[in-house]
């Protein structure tokens, strides 16, 4: 049962990834990419040469199959700007992005659940309203705006934290980018936790637990919170995509040498193999995380396996 469930999940994921690869393949400048890259003034001979070098002179089906076979071999193509293999750049920059993403999602999850629980503890009181309206503001601001505001206040104004650079120059460089990236998921997790807690608190077994004479705190943590966390896990894994996309902007603002910064620079230069590679990488990570979450669910909740 479990094995067939996992197999089905993995097969479907591969099918989805096939679609993802096809979409990624078409990320290229409109018209003739070689012409766009070299500009209107370039002579037709060098345009033709670049076209040949990029394989653009071949028919489209051939290009797609070539793209897929090289992908299968771990080859993401070469950057047009630096002529380095895209995969090499991504691997080289992965630790920086991973550090940022993992610390942010950890902070967002912990603080988000905490704030959500506090808000649900006494709903519709001042502390609940304050938490929920702050989190609404947090949802409404894109990462790059949050980042700029944090730079303005804590970097330039108060001079508490450095506004640019990587942790090799000190751990304090992590603070602002991490908070910037965490604010949106944190706000959403807080809201989901609150509403999920309130759902669970209305259930019969919670009333039974209270009727048994258990203290509020025991009921709250042992009975309610544990059951309220399921939707929160879904939110965290779904928000991982937004977080990964957020790294692009955050890394640019804080000059953080990760994959996102490489992608950002590539977008400015229309270096499309690099854009394809980073976007594909992000999508694969996201799909993998979600499939793992699905499989994990199958273990936790037998109902899921059967559907």
């Amino acid at each position: 049962m479990m094995v067939s469930y996992i197999l089905r999940k993995i097969l479907y994921t591969l099918l989805v990834l096939l679609g993802v690869v096809v979409v990624t393949f078409f990320i290229r400048p409109p018209g003739d990419p070689a012409r766009v890259l070299l500009g209107q003034r370039a002579d037709s001979a060098s345009v033709a040469a670049l076209r040949e070098q990029l394989g653009l002179d071949k028919p489209l089906p051939y290009q797609i199959t070539t793209y897929m076979t090289s992908l299968a071999g771990g080859d993401l193509g070469r950057s047009i700007a630096t002529n380095r293999p895209v995969a090499e750049t991504i691997i080289e920059r992965l630790p920086a992005t991973a550090l940022l993403a993992v610390t942010s999602i950890a902070i967002a999850t912990l603080l988000g659940i905490l704030l959500g629980v506090i808000a649900a503890w006494r709903p519709n009181t001042r502390i609940d309203t304050l938490t929920m309206s702050t989190s609404l503001l947090g949802i409404s601001l894109p990462a790059f705006v949050v980042g700029l505001l944090l730079v303005l206040v804590f970097g330039v104004g108060l001079e508490w934290f450095p506004i640019s650079g990587y942790v090799d120059r000190g751990a304090e460089h992590l603070v602002l980018p991490m908070i910037t990236l965490a604010i949106r998921p944190l706000s959403i997790i807080a809201r989901v936790t609150r509403s999920s807690m309130l759902d669970v608190l209305g259930q019969d077994y919670v009333r039974t637990a209270k009727a048994k004479g258990l203290s509020d705190a025991t009921v709250f943590v042992k009975h309610a919170l544990r059951n309220a966390l399921n939707p929160v896990v879904t939110t965290v894994s779904a928000w991982f995509a937004g977080l990964l996309a957020g790294t692009y902007f955050v890394e640019f603002i804080f000059n953080w040498p990760g994959i996102g910064l490489a992608a950002f620079n590539a977008i400015e230069k229309l270096d499309y193999p690099m854009i394809q590679g980073t976007v594909l990488f992000t999508a694969i990570i996201f799909v993998t995380v979600n499939t793992l979450a699905d499989i994990l669910y199958g273990f936790i909740d037998p109902k899921v396996r059967l559907s």
């Binding site: 679609g19 979409v23 409404s140 505001l149 303005l152 330039v156 603002i253």
Partner: protein
Amino acid sequence: MSTDRVESPSRLALRRLRKNTGAVIAMVVLTVMVIAAIAAPWITPFDPTTQILEYSVKPAGFRGTILFKKNPADPETPSIIAVSDWQLRSDTVYYRDPAGEPYSIARSALVGVTGDDFVATPTFWLGTDRFGRDMFTRLIYGMRVSLSVGLISESIALLIGIILGAIAGYYRGWADDVIMWLVNVVWSFPTILLVVAFSVLLGKGYWQTFVAIGISSWVDIARIVRGQFFSIREQEYIEATRALGYGPTRTIFRHMLLNATGPIIVLSTAGFATAIIAEASLSFIGLGVQPPTASWGQMIKDGYGYIALGTNWGMTLFPSIAMAIGVLVLNVFGDGLRDAFDPKTSQR
């Protein structure tokens, strides 16, 4: 026949919405924004692309004197000369530019007859950007871009999402499998990255931005329509339409879709906000709406360079605040709508 009015669900929802103070305030702010965006040419003191280079990067509240010079190419928008002071002697205007250099110009070359006509000392309420363009004017024009992106992109998303979601939910079977596969493929990309990808593919520009955002954001709508259709499909009144011999188009659009309106409206409001953020993010990257058209994302990016210097932070702050208000208001309104359509949640 009874004269009692039967309240329709949407009428009930509207009444609940009116009781929600936050949502009402949000709706008022939203209305003001829409009116300001439409009336932009009449309520802004400048043209959004007019540059007064002598008055570049001025702080909020700056007042500067300007002369209006006739513009033969476009009589509607006169050329602007920045001056520190001026004098009219016989038919010549003698003035000094902000650097103190003396100049003169024939009165006939200026707009109108007297000083009242050709001189003004406007206040740049939010200061100017690095090309000496009025920030307030550009902010209002940027709002135009943001709101139209929200409206048009969301319409595209709705069209695709409703059609695909309806087909999947009504026919099920292999049609559902194929559409859900597509949904999962699109869902595998973070929305903003997909928007970036489509922008690279479609090129930079106004319409390309609308389309790129629209075709990236239909997934949630398709999913919700499909889910609604799954449950509606089993109800008696849909069975009745089948018994009456109605075709699928009529059943889908006249009977099923109407009953899924609530969730669709709620999602569209959220989608509207997301589209505004997506456009700003695109302009921030340098894709999307291109200069000199004013866009919030671009204004934020323009001011970004000054932040590290610790000066002129208004250039970044004002468009950021404008965007925050816009998106916040849409989210509050969307929350209000959700509570209105689904009273269970509002009782909490």
